[in-house]
């Protein structure tokens, strides 16, 4: 299937027609956001199969709640929020919360992960996917989505301190993984 979107159709028209049940317009809306939302799902899910489930569930929610979009912010932001919420809900359902230790670990030095800038987005997503579910969710919510630790604590039902320590641990793991990744690439390049 071609996921290229026809950007000539204005977004408000696309939304209105999709609410009316126009299947072609719904598909057009799907094509417009599927790539970005699949990337969101991959970041949270940890593997492609779960990501597909999330993508499917997320789009169904988007289409069924499209009439609730009030156009007060960007439509993409609204769609993204639906997907993030769907992913977090998935996280809760799978009891991944148990993977987050409530024990606040000793202060870990805030790792420098700017080396991630040197990687392509697919490589970065792959590294994030490799994190354990707890680390991955907190990292995504704080670093990418911009939630505060307090908000993360409230949403995931953990303490603010736990959220902080999870993030610090996630960053430390990522830092090590980035280094390993770059070293491995260097070796294969020098051969």
């Amino acid at each position: 299937m071609n996921h290229k979107s026809n950007y000539n159709i204005p977004e408000p028209d696309l939304i209105r027609e999709s609410i009316a049940g126009n299947r072609a317009m719904q598909q057009e809306l799907y094509n417009r956001f599927a790539g970005k939302m699949y990337a969101v799902c991959l970041r949270y899910a940890g593997n492609a199969e779960d990501a597909q489930d999330l993508l499917q569930e997320g789009f169904i929610k988007v289409f069924r709640n499209l009439d609730k979009f009030r156009a007060e912010g960007s439509f993409e932001g609204w769609v993204r929020r639906v997907f993030v919420n769907t992913s977090i809900e998935h996280f809760r359902k799978k009891n991944y919360l148990y993977s987050i230790s409530e024990k606040e670990e000793n202060v870990i030095e805030d790792a420098d992960i700017t080396a991630l800038d040197n990687l392509g987005e697919k490589d970065i997503i792959k590294l994030i996917q490799d994190l354990s579910p707890g680390y991955r969710t907190v990292f995504n919510m704080y670093v990418i989505e911009g939630y505060s630790h307090k908000e993360i604590g409230n949403i995931l039902g953990i303490s603010e301190g736990t959220s902080k320590s999870q993030l610090a641990r996630a960053k430390a793991i990522l830092q090590r993984k980035v280094k390993e990744h770059i070293d491995a690439n260097r070796k294969s390049f020098s051969r």
Binding site: Y30, I113, E121
Partner: protein, 275 residues
């Protein structure tokens, strides 16, 4: 305010202090690699084509919980579950058909085969023909069944037999069927006692009654039946015991045997013990 002045103000440009960008960059660094955050946030990866098909089919269906089936094993599991449900429904339906066609007493389905019918023409143990059991419950005012004397004429039973109401109630026997003309003279001592065939099976074995009808009996009774009718190894003691039980069964006023329920023999045994 002249339009010219407004235009000037809106277009005014004043160079910021040199340190302004450094502060901003430092703040962005605090966020942790702003470059990769943007990259990740804006990343676009083409999803598999089947996702849209699933979304479209879900949108076609009435609102409800959607079960994602992206994993191959889930599709197989779903297919197996559907086949299982169909099998269960088919079996249930066939049982219902057998019940409605009179071949199975729902009360005794565990012990009696679908083909169970112990010689209604020869006034056998099947005191109430399965075909007369519609499976409906009696109304409260119909539970006290004034059984006709003629029902027991062959057995010289007392005029006011004690009816096992609970049995009748649980079987859901309709009053008019039980007392209809076809029901008369059904009880006799003529229980089939000479099986012509004996086919062992894992859970049941089949016995052909003297009238040619096949009766499926729980294998739990295979030893007892084999010892009675097994040919070379007839246990005359047990044969005598069974014959006496059959006789008691037929003449006991408080006992109405159900349609071919072999467990009634066991119940009779308990009754005899009590006596």
């Amino acid at each position: 305010m002249t339009p010219n002045f407004t235009h000037k103000i809106l277009d005014a440009e004043i160079p910021p202090p040199d340190s302004a960008w450094e502060h901003i960059a430092a703040e962005l660094d605090k966020l942790g690699g702003s470059g990769f955050v943007y990259k990740v946030a804006e990343a676009s990866i083409e999803p598999p084509p089947m996702v849209w098909q699933n979304v479209a089919s879900a949108l076609n269906s009435p609102r409800g919980k959607t079960i994602p089936l992206s994993r191959p094993w889930m599709k197989w599991a779903a297919a197996a579950a559907i086949l299982g449900i169909i099998a269960v429904l088919t079996i249930t339906n066939s049982k219902n058909n057998l019940v409605s066609s009179g071949k199975v007493d729902p009360r005794n389905e565990r012990n009696v085969s679908p083909s169970t019918s112990i010689n209604a023409n020869e006034s056998s143990l099947a005191g109430v023909s399965p075909s007369l059991i519609p499976g409906t419950r009696l109304a409260d005012n119909e539970r006290q069944l004034p059984l006709k004397r003629s029902l027991f004429t062959n057995n010289n039973l007392p005029e006011s037999p004690q009816v096992r109401h609970a049995t009748i109630e649980s079987a859901g026997i309709e009053k008019q069927d039980l007392l209809g003309s076809e029901s008369e003279s059904r009880l006799s001592n003529n229980i089939p006692s000479t099986p012509a065939t004996f086919i062992p099976a894992p859970d049941y074995f089949v016995v052909t009654a003297p009238n040619g009808e096949k009766v499926r009996i729980s294998s739990k009774f295979s030893d007892a039946v084999a010892s009675l009718y097994g040919g070379d190894n007839i246990d005359y003691y047990w044969k005598w015991r069974f014959d006496s039980w059959k006789s008691k069964l037929m003449t006991n006023p408080s006992f109405i045997p159900s349609a071919g329920n072999f467990l009634d023999i066991a119940e009779l045994k308990d009754m005899l013990k009590e006596q």
